[in-house]
């Protein structure tokens, strides 16, 4: 089965500005990939190339084995842009009808009700976009992206306008989508959020992927702290397997050990290291 999204040596230049400088990236079927990076790193460009909104200068992007931007690829994709707006004269239901028509979805009213319910807008079916808060519009945007049962969801900062409850709703939704086998490429600045839901993370800086792996793979061991009667002692080079020996030595030396804590860098540390090294 082809990858949901495959990018090979993907480059995008705007004149002399390099937005993407040779990106190789795979998103497997049903995988939830987090795209991290500072502003201008190329996350949105990568997302737009995958959606066929922007043409790559060179390299290749494929969605389920078909060239990104082709009708087949677009039929497989759901997309929510970072900066989006929906016609304010449409109601939530009418917007979804429009996208059902454009996606040739036969889901009808049932699909619309399900999607609005999924994003917590079940009661806002007849509310006009103009009367919605930014957060509601963002949730409506996610519902819109899910019209036609896409197999790859490209979400560019989908929670930037949401309050903590709204973010929780989206996190739960992403987990549910993963359960349904939908691949998701989630571009976000919220590292904690990415860490919570993503199977894998790619850190993009200056148009290049500097690190990728599972959150656990990106996190590095940073020693151990042992709480003794004399206070907390640090062992910065210690690994998990060193702990019994360290404790035994402390006890043998007449010390009293009350607790041991293994330290590991967070995704934030890994991110800051990658960005700092660039």
């Amino acid at each position: 089965m082809p990858a949901a999204l495959r990018c090979e040596s993907l480059e995008k230049r705007y004149g002399s500005t390099v937005a993407l400088g040779g990106v190789d990236l795979d998103v497997a079927q049903g995988e939830l990939l987090g795209l991290l990076g500072p502003n201008g790193a190329g996350k949105s460009t990568l997302t737009k190339i995958a959606c066929g909104l922007v043409r790559a200068t060179s390299g290749r992007a494929e969605v389920e084995g078909t060239p990104a931007g082709s009708a087949e690829a677009r039929a497989a994709i759901g997309y929510l842009a970072e900066l989006f707006r929906f016609p304010d004269w449409l109601t939530a239901d009418e917007l979804l009808v429009l996208h059902q028509d454009l996606a040739a979805s036969e889901g009808g009213r049932g699909e619309r009700s399900e999607l609005l319910g999924l994003v917590g807008l079940g009661d806002a079916r007849d509310t006009k976009v103009a009367a919605m808060s930014k957060g509601m519009q963002q949730r409506l945007g996610i519902a819109q992206a899910l019209v036609g049962s896409p197999r790859l969801l490209m979400l560019d900062e989908p929670t930037s306008a949401l309050d903590p409850v709204g973010r929780r709703v989206v996190r739960d939704l992403l987990r549910e989508l993963r359960g349904r086998g939908i691949a998701v490429a989630l571009s976000s600045h919220l590292l904690s959020e990415v860490e919570l839901v993503c199977d894998r993370v790619a850190i993009l800086v200056g148009g290049r992927i500097l690190a990728q792996g599972t959150p656990a793979e990106l996190a590095r061991p940073r020693g151990a702290e042992v709480e003794t009667a004399d206070g907390v002692r640090s062992f910065p080079d210690a690994r998990r397997e060193d702990v019994p020996r360290i404790v035994a030595e402390l006890v043998a030396g007449g010390g009293q050990v009350y607790g041991v804590r293994l330290l590991a860098s967070t995704l934030e540390d890994a991110y800051l290291e990658a960005v700092g090294a660039a």
Binding site: K48, C51, V54, A71, A81, P87, W89, L98
Partner: protein, 283 residues
């Protein structure tokens, strides 16, 4: 339903929901009321004057009034065409409205075609109805009917379609404001070139006539308008015809079938340019 039809229906609904059509209809009613008043007063005055036997006052008044209304209808149709299309691509993309639609498996060509069809449906019906109303008002008020009634109306409709096409093409390259300004400047330039052509014709200045000819090829809406004006009094002769041809809003100019063929080719050319440009545009 085809993708282009879905988009056209969406564009039409937008025009209705945003009360564009309501506002236009109300203001058009005002215009037609004023026009009816003007016709009634003018024909009444003409009847009481009846100065020169060589000039048919009724034809002169009727064709001038209807010519004036055609200019106004062309202008109103152009306003409608431009405002319905000026931000269709770049403007909507800058506002983030376009991307969710383009990602759908619709095809950019269908999207453009749908936007064009939606705008043209509104403008064409509007221009045709207002022109028919103006002809009726003129006929009822002064018992004067144009020599050719349908041709000038079709010319006006086609002129507005051309303006909508130019505006849609411009929307791919320019932001909404810049595009609107550009199209209205082109519109003004077309009218000015037409007037220069008439002056050149009257004074036999070849350069001015050439300017008018070239502008007619580049901006055929002006030539369609002039051909429409000519159609109003196509069968009229004598001094009356000469005076009518020096009308106040660009003189009448006869055009053959070549103009219609060229206009069709012009629209195809614009469609091809728009298709290529939109396909290459990053959003």
């Amino acid at each position: 339903m085809s993708s282009a039809l879905i988009v056209a229906r969406y564009a039409l609904r937008e025009a209705v929901r945003r009360r564009v059509i309501l506002v236009v209809l109300l203001l058009t009613l005002c215009f037609l009321s004023l026009y009816a008043l003007g016709c009634a007063v003018t024909f009444n005055e003409v009847e009481s004057l009846a100065v020169d036997d060589q000039v048919d006052d009724r034809v002169l008044a009727g064709s001038t009034l209807l010519g004036l209304s055609m200019f106004t209808i062309l202008f109103l149709g152009a306003v409608l065409a431009v405002f319905l299309t000026l931000g269709a691509v770049r403007g909507d993309a800058e506002r983030g409205l376009l991307q969710p639609l383009v990602v759908r498996p619709v095809g950019r060509t269908s999207l453009l075609l749908g936007r064009f069809a939606g705008a043209v449906a509104v403008c064409a019906v509007y221009v045709a109805l207002v022109y028919a109303a103006a002809v009726l008002i003129t006929g009822i008020a002064g018992d004067w009917w144009p020599d050719r009634g349908i041709g000038p109306g079709l010319g006006l409709v086609l002129a507005v379609v051309v303006i909508a096409a130019i505006s849609l093409l411009g929307s791919i390259f320019l932001s909404s404001t810049a595009n609107g300004i550009a199209v209205f400047m082109l519109f003004g330039a077309g009218l000015a070139a037409g007037l220069l052509g008439q002056i050149g014709d009257a004074l036999a200045v070849e350069t001015l006539e050439d300017v008018a000819t070239v502008s007619s090829w580049v901006l055929p809406f002006e030539a369609l308008y002039q051909a429409g004006l000519h159609g109003l009094t196509a069968e009229t002769s004598g001094i009356t015809a000469v005076i009518v041809q020096l009308g106040p809003f660009g003189g009448a100019q006869e055009a053959g079938a070549g103009l219609w063929v060229w206009t069709a080719a012009y629209l195809v050319l614009i469609a091809a340019c728009a298709r290529v440009a939109f396909a290459r545009r990053d959003l």
